[in-house]
Symmetry: C2
Subunit: 191 residues, 2 copies
Amino acid sequence: MNTAFENYLRQQTELSETDINRISSMATTSKLRRNEFLLREGEVCRHKTFIVSGLLRTFSITPDGNEHILLFSPENTWTLEVESYDREAPARSAIDAIEPSEVLLWNKTDFNSLLEIPQLRKFSEQLISRSIHSSRQRIITALSATPEEKYEDFLQNYPELLSRLPLRMIAAYLGVSLKTLTRIRHAQLTR
Amino acid sequence: MNTAFENYLRQQTELSETDINRISSMATTSKLRRNEFLLREGEVCRHKTFIVSGLLRTFSITPDGNEHILLFSPENTWTLEVESYDREAPARSAIDAIEPSEVLLWNKTDFNSLLEIPQLRKFSEQLISRSIHSSRQRIITALSATPEEKYEDFLQNYPELLSRLPLRMIAAYLGVSLKTLTRIRHAQLTR
DNA sequence: TGCAATTATGGTCAAATGACCACGTTTTAA
DNA sequence: TTAAAACGTGGTCATTTGACCATAATTGCA
């Protein structure tokens, strides 16, 4: 059924075929159009989400109306508004589709039951620790790097996303004005 | 024995006295002097750490020699270099004591065995989700806030730390120059 | 396919910020 | 207790950055 997802599990984990089937079969499939929301700010996040294809973004809007992007989630990654999912509280950020996307969803009860599979639990913990680590890396970069370094960093970490995203979103991800980004790109051309 | 820690568990969790004793008794106590390291960059982080008293900081030094602070850990909080602990890889950041501190340490084997206690597991997951959430909040602030807003934010979130930290560390935490911080404080006085 | 909306770039200008430096005060450690 | 180190503040100046605006190119949808 969800062949792409099952292959992902085969590659990334040591799960048995039986368990892979079980996990896969408990998922709901959903398709999102461009600009469609997976989660709106204020809603409760009730699912863990795996992105089969397409590209999502997690973002929030500050009181002054500026958009800031927390995370891009391309195919073969997961996304979740942790705090909301955990405490069943209103989400502080929103998730929408930048490209038409296909996602798999598990509700909390189901996913928790799946977490009794030791290899899945272990994998899940790995994902969490990686996520914490990358948040920390990003904090460091946000604190210390110049806009140019931030952009270089982005190119290093997500080379394949450059062509899939409008520049203004990269700017919103880096915390830099669009003007500054185009300046950097201009400078790099003539270099 | 570790009365303060045991009280912390009584307040924060639904653990039985038996379990609390078990957890507590598996810890090693350690005292750190001011400026003493709990973990150096490049070492492997082999313990989960609870701060009984004092104040630690997790920081890293960028190639240009600048110090950036990821986390302050006062009494009754935990600290860990996740990525290093999980993968037994060299730590990318260091942890040292800003004040003379007393900490409790558990090694991985012991702590993992303790995680079979369901209430501890649940509590641990809560701590993790809070930590992810606060990292995300911090990314948003780092991306979007002005230095003044960052400072206000810090005062809101950690009012008790202001008097315990040199200003330059707050600057290193906020990603702002010391100059800018003193300017902000000056402006606030005359306001 | 064609039109409307979005996007990338660039100009100008004002404001914010950091680098560097000095000085007086406070804290620390021997 | 005292000398040395660390600390907070302030001045100056050059640079970077963002805000605002216009324009041309591109994209996406009907």
